[in-house]
Every structure is written in C-alpha cells, then in structure tokens.
C-alpha cells in the first residue's frame, strides 16, 4: 500500500458513484436500477474505509461501513421482494411500464 494516497481511493469512489447514478437513471430494468443503488452505496463505503485509514475519522469509518453493508442488504431484500411482486402483477420489471399512476 506504499505510495497509494487518499486521493486515488476517493477517485475510485467518485467513479463508482457516478457509474451508480448513471445506472440508476438510465436502466429500464428494475433490477438494473437496484444494482445502480448498490454501486452508490459501495462508493460511499469505499470512502468510509479510505477515510478511516488516512484521516482522524479512524475506526468510526470502518464501523459505519459495516452498518451500511447490513442496511444495504436489508434494503436489497425488500426491494427485490417488491420487484417480484411487481412482476407478479405486471409480468415485467420494466420500470417504464409502471405508468398507471399519474396525474
């Protein structure tokens, strides 16, 4: 890890974040959108861990990352159940087809 500084980690985190946001906004498949969300959460996690190594944030950062992993898992479970329920009712998980409620 010699010679690798905080900036590089933050750069990777930022790239992941942007990829995640693009994925969230451009995918039509419901699962694809959820994958985008996971990318964003992991970008934040990478930041936390990098900050805990290089800044006074210390162990707090790693603890936060652990909690986020658990919460992301819980969120993914509920989101997938909802996607499955949507599929059962609409026979598709294309989010653009979710257009019956409008006004």
């Amino acid at each position: 890890m010699e010679g690798v500084d905080l900036k590089l980690f933050l750069l990777v985190g930022a790239v992941l974040f942007v990829c995640g946001v693009i994925c969230m906004t451009s995918k039509r498949n419901g699962i694809g959108v959820l994958i985008g969300v996971e990318l964003v959460l992991n970008a934040a996690n990478l930041n936390f861990v990098a900050f805990s190594r290089y800044t006074p944030l210390g162990l707090d950062g790693q603890i936060m990352a652990l909690f986020v992993i658990v919460l992301a898992a819980a969120e993914a479970a509920v989101a997938l159940a909802i996607a499955l329920n949507f599929y059962n009712n609409h026979l598709t998980i294309d989010v653009d087809r979710a257009d019956e409620l409008r006004g």
Partner: protein
Amino acid sequence: MTFEVLLNQVIGETLTVSICRFGPELIVSATILVLLLNRLFGIDRWVAPYWTTLIGCMIALGYATNQYLLLQQGTLPAGEYFTGLMMFDGFTVFLRIFLLLFLILVTVLTVLSGIPDLEDGPDFYTLLLGSTIGMMIMSGANHLLMLFIGIEMTSVPSYAMVGFLKGRRQSSEAALKYVVYGAGAAGVMLYGISLIAGMLGTGDMPLIAERIGQLTGTASNFESPLVRTLMLAIVMVFVGLSFKLSLVPFHFWCPDAFEGASAEVAGYLSVASKAAAFGLLIRFCLALTGTIEGAASSPIYLFLGLAIGFVAMVTATFGNLAAYAQTNVKRLLAYSTIAHAGYMLMAVAAMMVLLNAPSGAGLTSFERQELAAKSIEGLLFYLVVYLFMNLGAFAIVALIRNEIYSEEISDYKGLARQTPVLCVCMVICLVSLIGIPPMAGFFGKLFVFASVFQSAKVHWAMWVVFLVGAINTVFSLYYYLQVLKTMFLDERPEGARTIDIPLNPSGWYVIFVTAPLLLLILCTEQLTQTARTVAAGLFL
C-alpha cells in the same frame, strides 16, 4: 487504557445511563418480538395482534411521558447517551410522545377500517412498529451514522407497507416507485455523509460546527475548494432529507405512493415520516451552525437558509397548483401534504436565516437564538395540528372507501345527506388544512408565518417567501372547497352505492380525531408553552 477498562466503562454507561433513556424504543422493539412469537406459537388466534400492538404502544407512551416529566423536574438530565450516538433532550421526548400517540391512533384506525385482516395483522403491525422505531431514532440522532440508520429503518418498512396489498396492480407499482426513488436518495445521502465525515474527521453532530470552522478557517466563501466540497456534501445530505419530506424536486414518489397505498398507510406516512424528518432536519441544521452561545454567524449558512426558503416556496406553490387537477382524493391529499411540507419548511428556513443573521442586522447572538427557537416552536405547534387534520382526513377517506369502494372525488357526490357526521368532520379537517380561523390549522400557519416575518427583517428575500406563503393559502382554498362542494351541494346520482355510517365506533373515532382541531383553541397557550420549553432545550 486497556481494553478491559474501556469495556467496563461502556457497559457501565449503557446499563446506568443509556438503557433508561432508550426505554420507549426498547419497549416498542419488545412489542415486535411478542407479535412475532405470538404468531409462531399460534397465540394470535386468541389475542388479536392489534391488542398486542396497542398495549405495547400504551406502555411506551406512558414511559415517554414519564421521561418528559422527569426531564422537566431535572431528575433525568438531558444529554448524550450510547457514547454520544444519540441525544436525549426535550425535543427527542416531545417527538417520541408525538409519534407514539400517532401510532396508537393509526392502529385504532386500522382496527376500525380492517385493512390488515387477522391473518396479515402480525406482519403489518411489525412493519408499522419497526418504522416508528426508525422515526424515534431519527428524532434523537446525534451522529451521522444514526441519521442514516434512522432514515433507513423508517424507509424500508414503509416500502413494504405501501406494497402491502399484494394483489393490487396499483399497490405494487406504487411500492416499486417508492423503493427505487427512496433507495436512490438514500445512496446519494450516504455518499454525502461519507464526504462530511471524512473531511471533518468525525461523525458526531455536535462537533460538526466546530470542525467546519477549523477546516475552512477564514475562507468562508465559495472560493475555497474545501468549502465547495463541503457544500456539495451538505447538499447531498439534504437530497436524502428532502426525499423524506417530499420537497420539490424530490416529490415524485409522494402522490403515486399515496394513491397506490391504502389510505391508512398514506395517512401514517404523511404525518409520522414528515414529523421525524423535520426533527432530523432541525438537528442537522443546528449541527451545521452550532448552538453554543456566541456561535459565529456565517454568510454560507445564511445562503443555505435562503436556499431552503426558496425550496419551501417552490414546494408549497407546486403542491397547491398540482392539487387542482386531481380526481382522486388520496392524490389530492398527497399534493396537499407536499404543500404543507413547504409551509413547515419555511419555519426551518426562517430558523437558519435568523440564526445566521449578519452583524449588520442588529441582533445579539442571544436574540438570534431566541428568535430561532421561536421558529422551531411554531413548527412543533404546526406538526401537532397537522397530525389531527391529516389523520382525520385520511381516516374519513378510508371509512368512506369501505362503504362505496371508491376514492374518486366524483363518487363523493351528495354524501353529506347519507353520512352527515363524516362529512361535517371532513369540513373541519379541510377548513383547518386551509387555515381559516378559528380552526387550529390557522394558528399553526400564523406561528410559522410570524417567524418568517421576523426573518424577513434580516434578509429581504424572506419577504418573497412570506408573500408566496400567504398567496398559497389563497390558492389552496379552491381545491379543498371543491371536495366539500361535491360532498354537500351535488345530488347523489341514481344507483350510487349508499353509505351508512351512524354513530358507531368509526363515527366516534372520526369525531375524536377532529375534535382537537376545534378544541385546541382553548389550550393554545399550554401547547405553545410546551413547544417553547422543548425548542429552548435545543439551544442549551
């Protein structure tokens, strides 16, 4: 310090200090366990799940009320607990009591309207209680991690509750939209939190203001890249909070989720999650500016306050204008919820502007804090009133739905002749939502606008917010009265389903919920007094 000493210290603090301050949350958690165990052993066939829920909530409410009394006497001092992760003060306890009271009212409503049947009861009440715990954590969060955990604990059960009616196409669509937007907003917020925590080297909210001061030093304008990054991170956190508050431009989910969900769930989300999110927003804003006597006012936060004011203005206007074209009552109430979030946000904007008044405004730091506390007081009053008027309106929609199987406004024609009690209560709720005296809603608006008026003396832009808020009240007249006109003046069409809700428990429930809107005028003084002590406690 060895590990053993550290461990003993943490255990000691947890057992003596933290557990009793965290009591209401623990009691609600225990209720969830009891609900699930009852189901496991088949006890829920004899003891209906709602009884377990109600009893658990009542105990928690009693505990929280006791905490409030002890806090006033000074026997249970305010302070941080769980090694600084959570905050225990009047504000926390006030919101806890508010949320638990609301939870009891919603549970009674679900019993009367029968939305979760006996089979689904344990699931539904588990989700309801779980999200309430999240909201209570939100109202007491003292650390950026708890802020995120609170929001997620609130959101995840809410997604499931919106999609609770599994077979309905609309319900599943609403849940999908809610979960996709919600997860996205939470992700963006978490990235913002990671930047703030990393740059400041701490997640402790009381330390944030001080650390920001150290970090930016004298560079208190947008030239410095540090300040710009920090502002970006703060805006990202605000994205997550605005989503929970359904502020423009993060409001898309709100009408869809409300239309797809059952009226009970919509009523629950419209009041409880808003109240908790406002509590969190106030805590976060105060963490940014710092509450210590003589905290420096900063032009950056003044700007932030004005930005919040702008969002509030746009939200209120958008909510009111979009409500015009609605044909579905729940959708109309959803847009009305958005508009009311806008009004309440005006109080937060006023707080930020007053707290960061430039030295030219001629306010001492003490006066600034006093005026800021006054805005929070107005907001708390508004929240209490809002609980009754919104719950009343959604309860009436739910009860009418059970009779005529419709939530379209056009199907409400001439209902007043068949069910006068519900319709008169609807009048009280909607008139209170408009804010016409002597309904309680008028006083809520009055207090909020009074604090905006105060802040207008600090910065001229708040005059615009004030005027737009006032004009919005007039806008909102039309669509609320449209509903009332349909109910009272139109003829009931031939062959329409008849409705008959005499003074049975449902009728009494609605009367019980709407009565405070008329009676609050008698005890305005007590309520403002309570809100004042609670708000002042934030600045100690």
